[in-house]
């Protein structure tokens, strides 16, 4: 099964494609070399024949036919000599090895039968036949063999080159595929192990920074993220078990108790009222959990528009001010006008309401709560709007601040105050959705929860006028 799998790998297919292209280009290169060499040899041969003809013409003009014949006979004797013909006025051969040509003139291609070097060798010959006047025709020919030999040498060289290329390509491709496959297999094995439940496994990174390494690093980051999500899911399950089981069992107990002990309609009514209230509180907790999950999923971002944060903060401060006053606290708002952020109006409203409710709930009577909105963080003109809720209550100890953002977490001392403990988790989720930095600071005394929004683009204020 090893070989077919290797053949199916992407890298081998890629190698095969490269090999094909490379071979094709080698063939083209070979063809070009072949044709140019052949043309060059051909040109050389013709030039040699023409020079020979010119030299024979000189002999003829200097010494007439006898000198021509003598010259031809002398020249035709040497090894590697050209082939000649001196044809008389009657069409007879006077000298040379080429058979009489009759009326044919110019460049000719003569087959083997038309030459006779007297040694019984027959060869293919290219010849130039030129009339020298008075019926005399001289032809000089050269056999093709030299060119043919050169061609053969070139072809042989290229056959070797292409053969070696193919061999190297196939071998190298298979080898590279094998290397690649080994690393892919390693990633696959890690994935399998994770599927089997070993969540701590990570893809090996070789530190070379190549594509596979980058992929491995990305996969590892994804696995880290998944691990965090799993951890938070586990946390939520624990929290649900802890914080929802109690009211659920209380609900069950109430109903059990009513069934066992209720003696009058009034008893039943009381039990039902209590159970209904318990159920409503549970539903509220569920709604909050679902809302947080929805916000954390981030789908809401698609529906973002420009929100008039100033007006939103006014509305919330306005809504809670009488409540605060009735409970003996003071709620003040210091809100810069015309501040806008890109976001979800409903979620931002709920977030601010949660912050104000938290401040009102967790401060002693007589405390002062302030809702503050500034266009920029003080002393930083590049920053975005900052929304904060500040109180002068007891604050949160520094080492507790990170934990209060977690779902259901409530400080021990406030366990007795009502609430699901989900308020700040929702705040954190909404802040993250809006890319806002959530900070818990010491307001000396008291707590300041601040949200630093990212700076909007310059068109922010303009377009918000249309959206509002």
């Amino acid at each position: 099964m090893r070989l077919p799998r290797l053949l199916r790998t992407a890298s081998l297919r890629l190698a095969a494609l490269y090999l094909l292209l490379f071979t094709a280009s080698a063939v083209v290169l070979g063809a070009v070399v072949f044709w140019t060499t052949r043309a060059a040899l051909d040109g050389q041969a013709r030039a040699r024949i023409q020079a020979e003809v010119a030299s024979l013409r000189d002999e003829y003009q200097a010494g007439g036919l006898p000198r021509l014949i003598a010259a031809v006979e002398a020249r035709g004797r040497g090894a590697g000599a050209l082939d000649y013909l001196v044809q008389g006025a009657e069409g007879r051969r006077l000298a040379g090895e080429i058979a009489p040509l009759g009326q044919r003139r110019g460049w000719l291609r003569l087959d083997a039968a038309e030459t006779d070097d007297g040694r019984g060798e027959h060869e293919l010959v290219r010849a130039l036949a030129v009339p020298f006047g008075e019926g005399i025709v001289v032809a000089v020919g050269d056999d093709f063999e030299r060119i043919a030999e050169a061609e053969e040498a070139i072809l042989r060289a290229f056959a070797w080159a292409i053969g070696l290329t193919l061999l190297l390509g196939v071998g190298g491709g298979a080898w590279l595929s094998h290397l690649f496959l080994r690393r892919v297999d390693a990633i696959g094995r890690v994935a399998e192990a994770i599927i089997e439940g070993d969540l701590a496994r990570r893809v090996p990174v070789r530190g070379t920074g190549d594509d596979l390494d980058r992929l491995a690093a990305t996969l590892n980051r994804m696995l880290d993220r998944i691990a965090i999500l799993m951890e938070s899911l586990r946390q939520v399950s624990n929290d649900i078990a802890h914080d929802l089981r109690t009211p659920l069992s209380r609900l069950g107990q109430r109903l059990e108790d009513a069934r066992a002990h209720a003696r009058s309609v009034a008893d039943y009514e009381r039990a039902v009222e209590g159970a209904a209230a318990e159920a409503e509180a549970l539903l509220g907790t569920f709604a909050a959990l679902l809302r947080i999950a929805e916000v954390e999923a981030g789908a809401q971002r698609a529906a973002f528009r420009w929100v008039d944060l100033s007006r939103l903060a006014e509305t919330v401060a306005d809504a809670f001010a009488p409540v605060a006053e009735d409970e003996g606290r003071a709620l003040r708002a210091e809100i810069a006008p015309g501040v806008t952020v890109h976001g979800d109006q409903e979620l931002l409203t709920q977030m601010l309401a949660n912050l104000v409710e938290n401040a009102l709930r967790h401060t002693p009577p007589g405390s002062r709560v302030r809702v503050l909105l500034a266009e920029q963080a003080s002393g930083d003109p590049a920053s975005g709007p900052v929304l904060s809720v500040e109180d002068n209550g007891t604050g949160i100890p520094e080492n507790e601040r990170g934990r209060v953002l977690r779902r259901f977490h409530r400080l021990e001392q406030s366990r007795t105050t009502p609430g699901s403990g989900l308020g700040l988790s929702l705040v954190a989720a909404v802040a993250e959705l809006h890319g806002a930095r959530l900070g818990l600071e010491d307001a000396g005394p008291g707590l300041r929860v601040s949200l630093a929004f990212p700076a909007g683009h310059p068109g922010a204020v303009l377009s918000s006028a249309n959206d509002a």
Binding site: A287, R291, E294, A319, V323, T349, Q350, G419
Partner: protein, 240 residues
Amino acid sequence: MKVLLIEDDRETASYVARGLRENGHVVDHAATGRDGLFLAADGGHDVLVVDRMLPGLDGLGLVRALRETGVKAPVLFLTALGGVGDRVKGLEAGGDDYLVKPFAFAELLARLNALARRPPLVEVQAVLRVADLEMDRLRRTVTRGGRRVELQAREFQLLEYLMRHAERVVTRTMLLEAVWDFHFDPRTNIVETHMSRLRAKLAQPGAPELIHTIRGAGYALRAPAQPTQAGGASAGRAPA
């Protein structure tokens, strides 16, 4: 009023239908989107209660189709989907109100009353009157028994909403949505607090209370002498 209930869940449907009938309303019920479309096209309903998730034609598609065929009766969506985007989608499809399951029956009844009996002319009425209480919406003044009552902007909005829905029950949630644009349930008694301030400002020695608290439901602004309308102003009994 005549209500068309389009809901596939039999338990929810019978709970809602029984409650509405006990409060003196006529209920038609369809269990699928297609049946609902058919019944609605017959017309004559004062208000439609439509489940968001129906087999076949879903709630959104159904309401879109109804609006295209010219059915103008107000629609209240019932849904188990509580997401922010879901409500917006429902309203965009042509729904008029949105209620997330599980809901209190009193909440549903109050909202249906508000939808079905929305007097068409109330939007242009400049002066609203209930008993000796008078609101001039243009000059933004309120008088009781001829005496000027000074209200803050939010209190004015609150009273305006109550007066526009006079003789009917409005719930806390309806007020939160209409007056503050809060689409969530704050755990603080915002409405109660504002309402008690408004009451205090409207109170006059010897004059009867106009804003009534309806236990388990909400509030109603009522003229003292006027007899209550069946179903309209009562809290609405939850079905047994």
